[in-house]
Amino acid sequence: MAMPLPVLEELKSLLEAALPGVRTELVPNGPVPAQASLRVAPTDADAAARFLRDDPRLRLDTCSNVTGIDWPDREEKTTSKAIVDGVEKETVEIRRVPGYLEVVYHLYSVSLKHGPVILRQRTANRGDDCTVASLTPVWRGCEFQEREVYDLFGVRFAGHPDLRRILMWEGFLDHPMRRDYVAPDDHEYEPTPHDEVLALAKAHYPAPEAKP
């Protein structure tokens, strides 16, 4: 039977009331306000997920979609004006905002026919500490999708039973869905009319003839 899902603010308070100590954050979503999401810390993710799955009001029993998003390091410019020695000086401060990887879970309830509730986890950074909690123990359907996120984004899922590469081959080093990924120049190029590709192709194949 279809049952209305509590709005996200209500859901957040429900969750925080049921699980003291678990902190969640509401992430608004401009164009589709109904699809705003809830961010949980990786340490709390498992408990929160189990609550979402088991609470009789929510019963979010299927995790439909798992995906990663890469937010690379970016530079934030802040300009501040200060009067130094009577002269107004403008100082530009460039602050590096560390990037992070984000894993997004779209949860639906098959038994109550509502959804989606969107759950997010963030890694600490994009380098050495990109671990989040695996939700495969909660929703079996995350298994392959989390493997895919691991494969393409390099997010490590703590607690995943079989965290191997899934689309790329074993032994592949990089994570191709990251924004800063550079495709290696080692595959066979088909010359296309575009000059940069053509130039690469020529580097690979000694050109037998010039372009007519």
Binding site: E190, T192, H194
Partner: protein
């Protein structure tokens, strides 16, 4: 009783077998090189460039605006814009593509170049027999091979062609009216000075909104 389902299936296949000798619908194969399926009007294979008149070098509608190059999802179009302008078939000064190449081996026949073209100059052909032994250059079509006449376009897609003719006629009327107004204004402003024949620049043409379509903007 075991075996009845199997017997039913056997009867069904036998009926189908006999049906192939009487019912055309049960033997739908078209024996390709000799017989050909009638192509529908919407059929699309690969893009070609439309030219007006008989001379492809002169009548090419393309003004090398490079929108299709930008929008092409597999990036199979390559355009070099001319430095100079030349008089096109309509008697207007236009840029023209110095190079216009389409790599048919990369093209995925998605028709997006046709949709985004504001000048009705690139259309989908219905020809598909391009097999060649030359892997790298055999399917790289330059503008001479791509150019096909407006009559050809009318033959393969009559409805579309009529529509695009109407669009172009409306545009031309607008451009002419604007040119006239411009000319009058200019003549008024500088009656003494001999103004050059005002040509509808591509920008002018592009500003003219097409009926039934969105307003083209140049994402350049």
């Amino acid at each position: 009783m075991i075996g009845i389902g199997i017997a039913k299936g056997l009867v069904q296949t036998a009926r189908n077998l006999l049906g192939t000798y009487t019912d055309k619908d049960r033997l739908p194969t078209i024996e390709y090189p000799e017989e050909r399926q009638a192509l529908t009007e919407a059929t699309r294979q690969f893009p070609f460039l439309v030219h007006d008149g008989d001379d492809p070098a002169k009548g090419l509608r393309c003004v090398a605006c490079q929108i299709c190059e930008k929008e092409c999802p597999p990036k199979c179009i390559y355009i070099v814009k001319s430095r100079d302008k030349r008089v096109d078939y309509k008697g207007q000064m236009q840029f023209y593509p110095a190079t216009f190449d389409i790599d048919y081996s990369v093209c995925m026949s998605c028709q997006i170049c046709v949709e985004v073209c504001p000048f009705e100059s690139i259309k989908m052909d219905t020809e598909f027999e391009f097999s060649t032994a030359d892997r790298f250059r055999g399917l790289l079509f330059d503008k001479h091979r791509l150019a096909k006449s407006d009559a050809h376009y009318h033959r393969i897609h009559p409805t579309d062609a009529a529509e695009s003719d109407a669009v172009m006629a409306a545009e031309r009327a607008k451009a002419e009216a604007k040119a006239k107004a411009d000319a009058e204004a200019k003549a008024k402003a500088a009656a003494a000075k001999l103004a050059p024949t005002p040509a509808a620049s591509p920008e002018a043409q592009m500003e003219a909104p097409k009926p039934g379509s969105d307003t083209p903007t140049m994402p350049m």
